[in-house]
Amino acid sequence: MNTAQNPRRILVAIKRVVDYNVRVRVKPDGSGVMLDGVKLSINPFDQIAVEEALRIKEKGRADEVVIATIAPADAQSMLRNALAMGAQRALHVVADTALEPLAAARVLLKLVEKENPFLVILGKQAIDDDNNQTGQMLAALWNRPQATFASKVELTDGTARVTREVDAGLETLEVDLPAVVTTDLRLNEPRFVKLPEIMKAKTKPLETIPLASLGGAPGLRVKITKTEPPPARQRGIMVKDTGALFAELHKRGLV
């Protein structure tokens, strides 16, 4: 294989989740959350991942941005949307049920082996199960570096310098490529999709891959036995003026 002739490729893994503006409600029987008729969108952190890949390509540091998802058959519109943002191709691994993070990472590894990207970008976590695991697991299985919670990514030949949002502040790492990067909120602001791009995206290549053909399986080692709403907050008191507000805060030892 002549690597010099291979396109410099970025793989972006995205997930379809309940839209962040939806008020999620727990089913009365505790069997899960209500998903019927609820608006589904690309995970916000994954949208940032798509945007970052496109910006790297636009700076001339990548030739191709490939989007991948593991989702039910009706998730195609999300992929078309990512293509409309500017990606070149999409891979749709069709799975009827959600995969556990480690199972998802194994499937993504198969795609990585097939596509040979120099960079894989994912959101740091999906806002449905809030696991924050898949990117790190992929990096471990691939035996490559990870730079999680990125707020800045600078590429040089063969390495990436990534600034990470950590509890202590901003940590900068240098990683050899290929590597896995997961995005934090501050990395960029995703672009809006324009109508002509949506039309153009309809003809971009979208490959459908059955989960089983990759040897993939849902995982299912963590069984959810019950889903409950969190303890409700009680509506408190209203105060009539600033003096009363201060008195109440002072009484509670808060100022």
């Binding site: 480690l102 695991q133 950590v166 509890d167 790492l173 019950k226 008191i237 009539k240 507000l245």
Partner: protein, 327 residues
């Protein structure tokens, strides 16, 4: 036999408080696994990854409930990077049924890499422990709480939600064993620098008091009002998504489902209507105060103390009253 390995978080020769909270969580597992028999049959071990001779191992040895401390020594441990720590944790973790680390950026970065190396499932943000195989954790930014179960005999990797557990006391005296890992460590990831956040102001994620401003501030300049009040009471400063989108406050200050999810003692929402995505980020705050001119704003449905009025009048008045009380 249940054996819990707690991965210590530390920096600058100091054990992070989150480690004591993980030990407490491990103790609650011990109690849950064997009701009424305290720690019988459960061993809690803390692993500290250092370059050798660190005071951190001794600090961990004091934590109540800890049976042993393993100080794992390697030159690569100067910086606590997931890529170099994970093979060491996986090596030490072979002998344990449970591996815990705090659900901080340190633990969130490290533990999935460990779980993949060990082919173990991970439970993120564990908030309560019902038995050695049953746990509770939040999903949808805390809008739903799930009970999860893992088959007995499955190795479990978990990150512990530190806000849900108290810190273990420090009256123990566990032995410290030193260990040199044999796992090959990668050189593909290198530490460059760490810049501390936010100057003198407390860190938004861990601050006891947080004051946030919303769209009603109407300009970046007016947002100074929020900083002024925050500095007066030693609070961190946050912002609603609307305020961030409008450019009144930087992105890293965003509180909410897609921003920072926080649980301070006091949260004051100023000129924030209370969109769902904001409320999910603050619902674990102890006391929520809302200042808003719209009496119908949803923020009042969750506020412990609410006041309807003009923030540009109320905030300066409140500052004056705080000043007066300190004279």
């Amino acid at each position: 036999m249940t054996a819990v390995l707690v991965i210590a978080e530390h920096a600058g020769g100091k054990l992070n408080l989150s480690t004591a909270k993980c030990v407490k969580a491990a103790t609650s597992l011990a109690g849950a696994a064997n009701p009424g028999t305290a720690n019988l049959g459960t061993e809690i071990v803390v692993a500290v990854f250092t370059t050798g001779g660190s005071p951190v191992a001794a600090q961990a040895a004091k934590l109540t409930g800890v049976a042993r401390v393993l100080e794992v020594v390697h030159a690569a441990n100067e910086h606590q990077l997931a890529a170099t720590l994970a093979p060491q944790v996986a090596e030490v973790g072979q002998a344990f049924s449970h591996l815990f680390a705090p659900s901080t950026t340190f633990g969130k970065d490290l533990m999935p890499r460990v779980a993949a190396l060990l082919d173990a499932p991970q439970l993120s943000d564990v908030m309560s422990i019902e038995s050695a195989t049953r746990f509770r954790r939040p999903i949808y930014a805390g809008n739903a709480i799930t009970s999860v179960e893992v088959a007995a005999g499955t190795k479990i990797v978990a990150t512990i939600r530190t806000a849900s557990f108290e810190a273990a006391a420090s009256d123990g005296n566990a032995p410290v064993e030193t260990l040199n890992p044999s796992a090959a460590l990668p050189a593909h990831t290198r530490f460059v620098s760490l810049a501390a956040a936010g100057g003198d102001r407390p860190d938004l994620q861990s601050a006891a008091k947080v004051i946030s401003g919303g769209r009603a501030l109407a300009s970046a300049d007016a947002f100074k009002l929020i900083y002024g009040l925050a500095d007066k009471i030693g609070a961190a400063v946050g912002a609603s998504r609307a305020a961030v989108d409008a450019g009144y406050a930087p992105n890293d200050m965003q509180v909410g489902q897609t921003g920072k999810i926080i649980a301070p003692e006091l949260y004051i929402a100023i000129g924030i209507s209370g969109a769902i995505q904001h409320l999910t980020g603050i619902k674990d705050a102890r006391t929520i105060v809302a200042i808003n001119k719209d009496s119908e704003a949803p923020i009042f449905e969750v506020a412990d103390i609410g006041i309807v009025g003009d923030l540009f009048t109320i905030v300066p008045e409140l500052e004056k009253l705080i000043d007066a009380s300190r004279k």
